[in-house]
Assembly symmetry: C2
Homo-oligomer: 473 residues x 2
């Protein structure tokens, strides 16, 4: 892996503190003038996690010559390190003593020690995440960084989450193997961005604080630190992960990236393409229940085509357009049928969801075309394909997904979401738009017209079919 | 048990319907003109529960003479019954056929039958729920009614929930055995109210609908039916259960009951005494997290004394009053210590929670008296005793528990909640009020000053002590 070992050494304590520090139950960072820094993370029950910068820790002299850990191009940095720490010398008492110095004049004592550790911050990333689209590495195998951004486990899981749906599509014979190369192109950038952030954050954290109005302004600027701290929350939420244009993400036709780096299409002017679709509340046409888009887009390996036909009650021509979609969707040559094995549930590869922009009371369930209430092999209706994006809910108040997504209620739009809920494509609400969706899938999906699954047993009971994870079943 | 068997027979189907009835995913009731009624209750996945009134079911002729089921005073009603139904004659197909007739002109077919049953509505209640404060019956053993109010399991669990905390208090030697007599006085009334409601509801449901503007206005008035339907939701939520004045509920000093039968004290003019304390969001002073009062009042057998000192920032004299509570609470002769065994956690019988009415930022955690941040045998602070009732939260918006509970921010109030969260007492925020709280507990609690539990092990780890259920430990 490429990167560096730093000389900053940290200790971690999970314990129930006895202290008169008033903000002990708030997540906070304390920069002492001379004694280093501590990060306070309140946990469940009365536990508090402390990340504490350690000043004096014995080094293992042998590690000064060790080079296995460092890649060729950071030799200059390696030369400057003092060597690796001797972890056996780090005790809870040593960590506590340092924390007490940092927290002065407040007092700190330790009870109910739950766990502790010590580590040296290393920031490294592998130059490759895969070989021949057949061997893949993820998580700690390809990137390491300090734990303070709270991203070690999160980013690692997201690696495999990204890889998982692609592997499933390829292994099930639904998509071309080419799509697997997007794993590295998408996740390597995330790892590099994260390590760049961690680099900045760790150094700000480990540095002395700058004393405002002092004669010499050195050390970490606390305003900058606060800003970077807030930036870190975006990593924690995962919402700034932005995948570049590829076979799976189509940014053409969109506006140039905005100040936050978001690429938006004019038809859905608040939906960043390549990022996870932000969840909004929508209301089921069938039963008036509010549901979060994120809950409706369960991670079960399926793509979603979200059709926003606009306010079909005020604009009847939009309802006409929607009805024109029916023959397109029925055709065996188009995405809705072409990529789904024969005898599989019709939505088990690509799930088509319609979110209209009319008040639920102004339209009827049966006003909409048949594809918004598909029937299965037993004749059972799927009631969970048709929603309204506007209305009022008891717990969530007024909702307007059209407003939140920046979709005009006259123009409408179509959004394609990948199985990981990242936005793949934004296009117009029209048969042309539907053709664009078709083009998207035809680039990497494999036709299934000749793949025949066993016929389903009409006498069997499968009342959970709409809620269990499934892909091409 | 006293009560009656009706001649109304119902069938129940849990199945996935195939229908063109548009409201199949909404809870609704359908009164047909001639064929009876059906209640539609959408369930998880695609299941729908149907309650269907059956017209022709064979009776078991022997039951006409059976009297074991009926108490003496309903002999006249028994004489009129046609006898008990023969349940073996009720099949899913028979129930479905009836439902199809009721739903006309809409169609209804059945797939994925999950469960079915048939029953005859009986409404009976036992005249006694206990003997000698030593033997108790609960649930179906003392009340039966139709299942359509959704209250069979709920009311039965509430019976034992009511009994449970009283038994625990008595068995642990904390309270006098007398309190057990409130089980019958409290729950018998609930059972009678419920059966009276069920009686009205079932008859409205089972009757023909009244045809508006017809020559002869007979049958069930649909407006009245709708009103009773809504009333039923209050039973379902449990919020109208109202316990009368007793050793455990003190309504003296309160206003006369209002139109809804709620008895409120002027100092907390929206808190019905004897009913479950309605949950409001409050904000922890220590960590700014919003928490529902209901979550803070976990059902762990403990009483809660909720002190509302008002806006202590605008009214410093209120903070002074609060500080005067400290010696009272410290005294071994008063409720806070007197009824808790020696060496038990100080809040393990009576939990004192302070909810002030100032903006969290205008007061400091350490401005408040020591009893709002008690320390345990290890010196660990309990951070979960002090809250503000006003402020702004991300998910819940602006909150004002003082407004919701009808408590004046200058006067304040004290509320005592029983272990089942029913409001026991509302009194003034003053040492007089604290004395009233003391009087409440002294009436039925047993002094524990001489009950000495083993000393706790200072070296043991018990980091979960604040969250695990406990009573006098």
């Amino acid at each position: 892996m490429e990167g560096e070992q730093t000389d900053f050494v940290w200790g971690v304590l999970d314990m129930v503190p006895i202290t008169n520090f008033p903000d002990i139950r708030s997540r906070c960072a304390i920069h002492s003038k001379e004694s280093g820094s501590v990060m306070v993370i309140p946990r469940e029950n009365d536990l508090v996690r402390f990340y504490i910068q350690l000043k004096e820790v014995e080094r293992d002299p042998n590690t000064k010559t060790e080079s296995r850990e460092f890649s060729g191009n950071v030799d200059d940095k390696k030369a400057k390190t003092k060597g690796r720490i001797d972890r056996s010398k780090i005790t809870p008492e040593l960590i506590l003593k340092q924390a007490q110095e940092i927290l002065q004049p407040y007092t700190l004592e330790m009870t109910d020690l739950d766990w502790f550790t010590g580590y040296q911050i290393g920031q490294r990333v592998s130059p490759n995440f895969s070989r021949h689209n057949r061997v893949f590495i993820a998580g700690d195998a390809c990137h390491t960084h300090s734990p303070k951004a709270g991203q070690g486990m999160n980013v690692s899981m997201q690696d495999t989450y990204n890889l998982g749906f692609k592997l499933a599509l390829v292994c099930k014979g639904l998509a071309k193997q080419d799509i697997l190369s997007t794993y590295e192109s998408e996740r390597l950038k995330v790892a590099r961005d994260l390590i760049a952030f961690d680099h900045k954050f760790s150094r700000l954290f480990s540095s002395k604080p700058m004393i405002p109005n002092a004669d010499v302004l050195d050390g970490a600027d606390m305003d900058e630190f606060h800003q970077v701290y807030i930036e870190g929350n975006k990593f924690a939420s995962g919402t700034i992960v932005d995948y570049e244009d590829s076979v799976l993400v189509k940014k053409e036709g969109a506006n140039a990236p905005d100040d936050n780096g978001c690429t938006m299409h004019p038809l859905a002017s608040k939906v960043p393409i390549g990022r996870r679709l932000y969840s909004e509340v929508i209301i089921s046409q069938a039963d008036a229940r509010p549901v979060h888009v994120a809950d409706r887009l369960a991670s079960d390996g399926r793509f979603r085509v979200l059709i926003f036909p606009g306010d079909v009650s005020t604009h009847p021509e939009n309802m006409e357009t929607l009805h024109k979609f029916q023959p397109f969707i029925d055709s065996k040559d188009n995405f809705a049928k072409k990529f789904t094995p024969v005898n599989a549930f019709s939505d088990s590869v690509i799930d088509i969801i319609t979110i209209h922009g009319s008040c639920r009371y102004n339209v009827e369930f049966y006003d909409f075309p048949q594809f918004t209430r598909p029937k299965d092999y037993k004749g059972r209706c799927d009631y969970w394909k048709l929603y309204t994006g506007i209305g009022n809910t008891y717990h969530e108040g007024d909702i307007d997904a059209y407003e939140s997504y920046g979709i005009d209620k006259k123009k409408g739009a179509i959004i394609v979401a990948r199985p990981d809920s990242h936005v793949a494509l934004v296009t117009e609400f029209s048969t042309d738009g539907l053709n664009a969706v078709d083009g998207y899938f035809k680039e990497f999906m494999l036709p299934q017209n000749d793949v025949v699954l066993p016929e389903k047993d009409v006498k069997g009971h499968d009342k959970k079919r709409f809620v269990q994870p499934r892909l091409a079943v």
